[in-house]
Symmetry: C2
Subunit: 169 residues, 2 copies
């Protein structure tokens, strides 16, 4: 149903910034981790900035970092920042108002879909960026007890853009 990976990418981006602590990240660096174009990232960063989740600085030595601590950013904040519409859509064209069902199904469906949306939001409200970073930690190999840097600086091979193997895609 969702054809959008905006939420996933937004969480990824902000997780990078939480990981980087206070150091501002350049859109180019972020794009390399997400494996997409830097403009796509900058567009998303603008939305996240509008919702006061990140602050960006223009100019040389610029970049973006979290606007507040990771424990104060919930996944609901992120969701609301980048996914405007609810989980489901109603009919593309309005049903026939001359049909007793068609004329009223929208009202009933809206109630149901609102319940669904609320349930989603409740789940997302219960997890913070900090939680995401914590869940990430055990997977990451560290050589010296300190975090590995977000990205190495050297040139890296482009990751091939094959279809993800995840069952979700």
């Amino acid at each position: 149903m969702s054809t959008s990976s905006r939420f996933a990418v937004a969480v990824h981006v902000l997780t990078l910034m939480a990981w980087a602590d206070e150091e501002p990240l350049k859109s180019e660096q972020v794009a390399e981790s997400v494996n997409t174009n830097a403009v796509v990232i900058r567009r998303m960063l603008c939305e996240l900035a509008e919702s006061n989740l990140v602050v960006s600085q223009t100019g040389s030595m610029g970049g973006s970092k979290l606007a507040r601590l990771p424990e104060r950013i919930t996944l609901l904040d992120i969701y609301q920042a980048v996914e405007s519409r609810g989980v489901f859509s109603l009919h593309r064209h309005p049903p026939n108002p001359d049909c007793p069902v068609g004329v009223n199904i929208g009202t009933v469906l809206n109630d149901v879909l609102d319940e669904v949306d609320s349930a989603v939001e409740r789940v997302l409200a219960n997890m913070t960026l900090r939680d995401v970073v914590s869940r990430l930690q055990p997977c990451v190999s560290t050589t010296n007890g300190k975090r590995a840097s977000v990205m190495t600086n050297g040139k890296r091979k482009q990751v091939p853009r094959v279809q993800s193997v995840s069952a979700r895609n």
Copy 2:
């Protein structure tokens, strides 16, 4: 996020059949209420039939009706019949595996998205087609205490296909 109205349409279609009781409906009648093409409806009916929610009969005097009573069809059944994928998608292209965040964010996100999906399913499992019909009733004007028929038989004007006014679209 969801660009698909499949769930909404499926609920609409099945509600029509619940409303029509045992009388089989033709795809053309259903399409008129939904305000779309009959082939779109037939395609969906095939999916609903595969999930054993409706039974269809070919040939003259054919049509489709519910495979079981409305109180034994949950919205979750409908959702699973017509919406294959979860609520959110992961990255369109896999993240950079050379980045400590990129390599593991998918795993963490999958856990979160599974939680979201479960929450959605719990909500949908708690409502049946019968409930939808009940919620519909108070809105429908009946002239004699009996239900109005699903659609009048006469020619009707085509409903203009303007954008729905619902905030959800």
